[in-house]
């Protein structure tokens, strides 16, 4: 392999940590997408656009003096409403899963144009007190923005797992995804549940957006930079599974980071997509 070298222990450990953090963001971005795809059969490409729209709104509110994390108080309900509204439209026109992909791809372009017209194509960097903070344990550094992302990813994945596993709503959602007519026969209100879930998925996108704004410089065209790898995490993790995107995202993030640490960084994307192809070949039933 080009440029292969044995890394020092500290380099390897810090790179793995970096991979875990970026993997948590893959997982957080993928969680809403996975739920929407797996339980509603709605492939929402606009999920990425929603995340970036939330990131820009967070940036805007932060420049006016708001704490970036407190912007979630506004963003979460706002995006819940947007997600539910979009789902209501899709349901009204009985959009198929494949068509939902096409429609939300178009919607992504519209949101990108909207972001560009409001905030221009220039780069925007959120300056917050969080960006300056980090912990050091031994030789390892733990930046606070990444720790926040990790905490959100783990916490929300756990919450989703708990709801899906232990509540009537979760059981109803899973039942409807498994066999919608039978679930309806048992009195499951699929319309309401669908609206709730779509709203929740979009709200998750807003949380991921705030995490993006905390750690990354924003540009409208960056929306597309995340699509491939997050899709890979969602498919690897299994659709509609609470911990799937986080675990798969972490696996991808760590494998990319280790690849970058021991060989050329340009090999990193090959690793994540090779993993996806392997899973599709060896376990095709895992996706869909």
């Amino acid at each position: 392999m080009p440029g292969f070298s044995l890394p020092s222990a500290s380099l390897l450990a810090q790179s793995i940590l970096s991979g875990i953090f970026v993997g948590a963001l893959y997982g957080l971005l993928g969680l809403g997408l996975s739920l929407s795809w797996g339980l509603l059969r709605f492939i929402n490409l606009a999920h990425f656009a929603f995340a970036f729209l939330a990131a820009y709104l967070c940036w805007q509110m932060a420049t006016l003096g708001a704490d970036p994390l407190l912007t979630l108080a506004v963003l979460v309900p706002l995006f819940f409403a947007i997600g539910a509204g979009l789902h209501a439209l899709m349901a009204r026109f009985a959009v198929t899963p494949f068509n939902s992909l096409l429609i939300t791809f178009g919607l992504t372009g519209i949101v990108e144009a909207l972001i560009q017209s409001i905030w221009t194509a220039d780069f925007r960097k959120l300056e917050s007190s969080y960006a300056e903070q980090k912990f050091k344990i031994g030789v390892l550094y733990f930046p606070v923005p990444e720790l926040i992302t990790f905490a959100f990813a783990v916490g929300l994945s756990f919450a989703v797992w708990a709801v899906l596993r232990h509540t009537d709503l979760g059981k109803a959602l899973r039942a409807a995804a498994e066999d919608a007519p039978i679930a309806a026969a048992f009195g499951v209100n699929q319309r309401l549940n669908g609206l709730l879930l779509a709203g929740f998925a979009a709200a998750l996108a807003s949380v991921a957006g705030v995490c993006l704004a905390l750690s990354f410089t924003l540009a409208p065209s960056q929306i597309y930079a995340w699509v491939g790898v997050v899709f890979a995490a969602v498919m690897l993790g299994g659709l509609g599974r609470a911990f799937g995107p986080l675990l798969a995202g972490t696996l991808i993030g760590v494998s990319e980071a280790v690849t970058m640490a021991v060989t050329a960084p340009s090999w990193a994307p090959i690793v994540s997509f090779s993993l996806l192809i392997l899973v599709l070949v060896l376990r095709p039933g895992r996706v869909g």
Partner: protein, 398 residues
């Protein structure tokens, strides 16, 4: 007795003036066609070229236009897509029937436009083509004065500057994007380093659009170089510096090839960062023809438009230069004949905001006028070569 005469004369003069004004306004405008990446990933930089074009056309019309005719700029949005740029340039020539062409932004679109220009024998002056060896067309003229072999000359200028600085480096970490106009420069830098007996302690490449710079920062830290060459484009430099900050690492001396200038200079971690430029808002650049007034107007307009960095640097200067080159060709030949303009430009030097440019070298490229600048006290300062530094500005090292 005299009063009526004066009144008649004044009336006559006013009438003549009005008639000449009417004649000028009714004169067929010279139509110049181009595309710009007004939307899409390149639009952040293309908006600079749009503003510069508007300023130049406005200034030219205030001066009476070219050849006594007003200018009209027909600019279309190529959406940052080279294939669309090709289609739109075809339209500009065949449907819009523009008199002259102006280049688009960036390298991919320029090469597309060049193909169309070649097919219709049109002169193409372009702003920032990064790879001179790709500019094969005889009637293309570069406004970015990076010379015919920048992969050798630019790194040599940089390492000359470092050698003359307070801490000449012995070991270098070379990390680079694989973006075409970046990658060949980095490869050239590696060759130059070999010839200068500089030790390369790390070489890494990443794909354009890389998101995670953490492991790259870790590897640079691990390699302990005296100097880091970053083949950066756009935000790469910012992302790498952010990643370095997270592991408490600051490179001793560091260089970024084509960073987004505004965002980088605003980063505290970019202190002492080096880069290249053809123009900065400081003497002696501001003494070049048209530069002072251009800088003033550009600053005002860019600030009003909310550009994050309203200063004139490489992009804006190259863009203004492109218009100066085209005007020189038109006024030099007193006509709009592309072949005559092309021949004139090859035979003459043109005064521009970058200085005097010539087009008689490899692929019509002239001298390498790339200078070394450094972030000092939160702004870019030209530090090399000495003849273009302002005051006692010099390269600094921690």
């Amino acid at each position: 007795m005299h009063k009526p005469t004066l009144t008649r004369r004044a009336t006559l003069a006013a009438a003549l003036l009005a008639l000449s004004g009417l004649a000028w306004s009714q004169a067929q405008p010279i139509r110049i066609g181009s595309t710009l990446a007004l939307t899409g990933p390149l639009s952040a930089t293309a908006q600079i070229h749009k503003l510069v074009g508007e300023i130049y056309v406005e200034q030219a019309n205030q001066r009476g236009g070219w050849l006594g005719r007003p200018l009209e700029w027909v600019v279309k949005d190529d959406q940052s897509k080279p294939d669309l740029a090709r289609t739109l340039y075809e339209q500009l020539v065949t449907a819009d029937k523009v008199d002259l062409l102006m280049g688009p932004y960036a390298t991919g679109a320029i090469l597309s436009a060049m193909g169309v220009a070649q097919r219709y024998n049109k002169v193409l002056v372009h702003h920032t083509l990064g790879v001179p060896s790709l500019a094969k067309y005889d009637m293309q003229f570069p406004a970015w004065s990076l010379g015919g072999d920048p992969a050798t000359t630019v790194p040599n200028t940089l390492f000359d500057a470092l050698a003359a600085g307070p801490k000449p480096p012995k070991t270098v970490a070379v990390v680079t994007s694989k973006f075409p106009s970046i990658h060949f420069m980095t490869q050239g830098a590696r060759e130059v380093m070999k010839k200068r007996n500089l030790s390369e302690v790390l070489f890494l490449e990443w794909d354009f659009g890389n998101r995670d710079f953490g492991p790259i920062a870790n590897r640079i830290k691990d390699a302990k170089p005296d100097f880091v060459w970053v083949g950066a484009i756009g935000l790469d430099g910012n992302l790498l510096l952010d990643a370095m900050k997270k592991i408490d690492y600051a490179p001793p001396q560091h260089f970024y090839l084509y960073p987004a200038p505004g965002p980088l200079v605003s980063l505290p971690e970019a202190k002492n960062a080096l880069s290249v430029t053809i123009f900065e808002e400081q003497p002696p650049f501001t003494s070049n023809p048209g530069a002072g007034e251009f800088v003033k107007i550009y600053r005002e307009r860019a600030t009003k438009l909310g550009f994050p960095d309203p200063s004139v640097e490489t992009q804006a200067a190259a863009s203004y230069t492109a218009w100066q080159i085209l005007e020189a060709g038109v006024t030099g030949t007193k006509g709009l004949d592309d072949k005559a303009i092309g021949a004139w430009l090859k035979a003459n030097k043109v005064d521009t905001v970058q200085g005097k440019l010539r087009f008689d070298g490899f692929n019509n490229f002239g001298d390498d006028l790339m200078r070394i600048k450094q972030v000092q006290n939160g702004k870019w300062v030209v530090v090399w070569p000495k003849e273009v530094t302002a005051g006692d500005a010099k390269l600094m090292a921690p």
